[in-house]
């Protein structure tokens, strides 16, 4: 095994852990609160870009004219908090029905994408946003990737246990009650909208954490690092594993990443690079259809709770 190959594998593990953070955020919104969010990627993008703007040093010649030059450890919590506030402002949309919610969130994601693409003074546009990172300057590729596997493993585990605790807490039980039967929950005096709004904000904040760390890892971002299709990949992973089930979400993401890695390793035909790139999506699409038609509860199914939820 060459160093390059190990670095490649570690790169995959990093990406897997970032996607796991995203999918855990989605699981709070969909699996627990039943909020359909087709614009999840927008919050990852907000997390990454706000971090980037806070960390960037603008110069006279740079396309981006805004930046505070803050270190990551300061920029990261601010970016996550700001994304949380934005999510809170948007959160009243949870009052809408499922289909309306799907469209509005998708429209929001496309809108965020259009703005980052076109407002180069703020986001670097298609030329990209580049931050300076101490880790990136000092470490070689292998140690760098290994360091990020460590950082992300800690963060992903923390998020995993946070969502797990949340699920078993009173808050989580109320969310489950609302998802299973909103009318009954309301009859018990539960303010369903307010709980769902909170779940929307918590999910978005988790996704922003992932987005911010993603930028810190890749150092340079362009809008296409967060394609609108990424949301669908997260949805596929969640449905594949079993929505509402954290373990299922991680398993689904693992299956997707494995497919992605195999496609890049073995379907890398130099004359036809499109086969490897496209087949991954075709296979995930097929998997999604088969899972929904044949096993709608996912591979692991919903989480069995001692409360029967």
């Amino acid at each position: 095994m060459t160093t390059v190959f190990i670095a490649f594998l570690l790169n995959f593990v990093v990406l897997f852990l970032i996607y796991v953070i995203f999918v855990l955020g989605l699981n709070i919104q969909w699996g627990q609160a039943g909020i359909l969010n087709f614009g999840l990627v927008a919050f990852a993008m907000l997390g990454a870009y706000i971090t980037g703007i806070l960390m960037f040093h603008p110069t006279a010649s740079s396309i981006m004219q805004v930046g505070l030059g803050l270190p990551f450890l300061v920029a990261f919590p601010i970016a996550v908090a700001v994304t949380g506030v934005i999510a809170w402002f948007i959160s009243p949309i949870v009052k809408f029905g499922l289909e309306e919610l799907a469209i509005i969130t998708l429209a929001f994601a496309v809108l965020v994408h259009i703005v980052t693409d076109n407002e180069a003074w703020l986001t670097g546009g298609t030329t990209g946003l580049m931050i300076t990172s101490n880790l990136n300057d000092r470490l070689d590729v292998l140690t760098y990737n290994l360091a990020f596997v460590g950082i992300l493993l800690v963060v992903a585990l923390a998020v995993y246990y946070f969502t797990r605790t949340l699920n078993f807490s009173q808050f989580g039980r109320i969310l489950n009650a609302i998802r299973l039967d909103e009318l009954k929950a309301k009859s018990l005096g539960i303010d369903a909208v307010s709980y769902r709004m909170k779940a929307f904000v918590i999910g978005s904040v988790i996704v922003a954490i992932g987005g911010s760390l993603y930028l810190y890892f890749v150092v340079r971002t362009v809008p296409d690092l967060f394609p609108v299709d990424l949301t669908f990949i997260l949805w596929i992973a969640l449905l594949l594993g079993g929505s509402g089930n954290n373990r299922g979400a991680v398993l689904g993401m693992g299956i997707y990443m494995l497919l992605d890695m195999l496609a890049r390793l073995y379907l890398n035909i130099p004359a036809h690079p499109e086969v490897g790139a496209g087949l991954k999506y075709v296979v995930t699409g097929l998997l999604l259809v088969v899972v929904i038609v044949r096993r709608p509860e996912g591979i692991l199914g919903p989480r069995r709770s001692k409360y029967g939820g």
Partner: protein, 282 residues
């Protein structure tokens, strides 16, 4: 004066036509089997690629290619329904998620099948000159196709026994079934009509844009917007009106916003439409 206004009007008409050609089939699925078929624009892309292959690679006549592409995509839509959507009847969310999967399969199937190279469909359509104003061949074709699709759909839905079945199914599928309507057979027709209309929108779009695997997918939100705006009934005249509103909004928006944000205006109208509909329904 005409020199200044005509380009805007012509661009508005073209946008409205493309939207209508995409939305007609989508609207039918949204109102009869009742779900948002995210894969619909990808059916249009598939149709456009089939036309391109038959015209540029095989060298056939464009009109023959359009007819074959229409029939082929109609058949593909029926087949996809047969193997996926059919098992999920009456579950709008499962259907929506399933259509996401179908969209990925079709879109990236196109990506693999017709490699990522630059492709352009060039068809020599005669322009029409009316007292000094040039009406482009593409616009004439677009308007012609809109009239054709509108009349065909209106005739089928309002004047034929099949249309009665389609409307019955749209209003209350359970009741329709209990009255002896073969719902599966009717839905097959609906899927064929929906699929067959898609390539026409794709054709007009790729006459002025290069072919890419996601050329039509970008339109999905606008398509959903007009379908919501058109209301709860299967009504193609209302749908055309909704397309005109959104297209006019996008054209007018160009006076205030850069071109990149025209789609944003469409979304703004969509969100206003959703909120207004909720307020009205209360």
């Amino acid at each position: 004066m005409t020199d200044q206004i005509w380009p805007i009007v012509s661009s508005f008409l073209l946008e409205m036509s493309i939207l209508f050609l995409f939305a007609a089939g989508f609207h039918l699925i949204m109102r009869v089997p009742k779900f948002l078929n995210i894969a619909h624009p990808d059916y249009a892309t598939l149709g456009a690629y089939i036309i391109w292959t038959l015209v540029v690679a095989v060298g056939w006549n464009i009109w023959l290619a359009v007819v074959i592409s229409t029939a082929a995509v109609g058949a593909v839509a029926v087949l996809i329904d047969r193997f996926s959507f059919r098992y999920l009847r009456g579950a709008p969310l499962a259907l929506l998620l399933c259509s996401m999967g179908v969209a990925l399969v079709v879109r990236y199937g196109i990506f693999i099948g017709w490699t990522g190279r630059f492709r352009k469909l060039i068809v020599d359509l005669p322009n029409l000159v009316i007292s000094g104003t040039v009406v482009s061949g593409t616009l004439l074709l677009a308007l012609g196709l809109v009239v054709l699709v509108l009349l065909t759909f209106l005739f089928i839905v309002n004047r034929t026994p099949l249309g009665v079945r389609i409307r019955a199914l749209a209003d209350n599928s359970l009741l329709a079934e209990s009255f002896g309507i073969d719902t599966e057979k009717t839905l097959r027709f609906v899927w064929f009509l929906s699929g067959a209309s898609a390539p026409l929108g794709g054709l007009v779009l790729v006459l002025y844009r290069p072919l890419t695997y996601d050329v039509c997918f970008m339109w999905i939100l606008l398509i959903i917007a007009v379908s919501i705006l058109a209301g709860e009934k299967v009504s193609f005249t209302r749908l055309l009106g909704a397309c005109a509103i959104i297209a006019a909004g996008m054209e007018l928006g160009l006076f205030f916003l850069p071109e990149a944000y025209t789609m944003a205006i469409g979304f703004a109208i969509l969100i206003i439409a959703i909120i207004v509909r909720r307020v009205v329904s209360r």
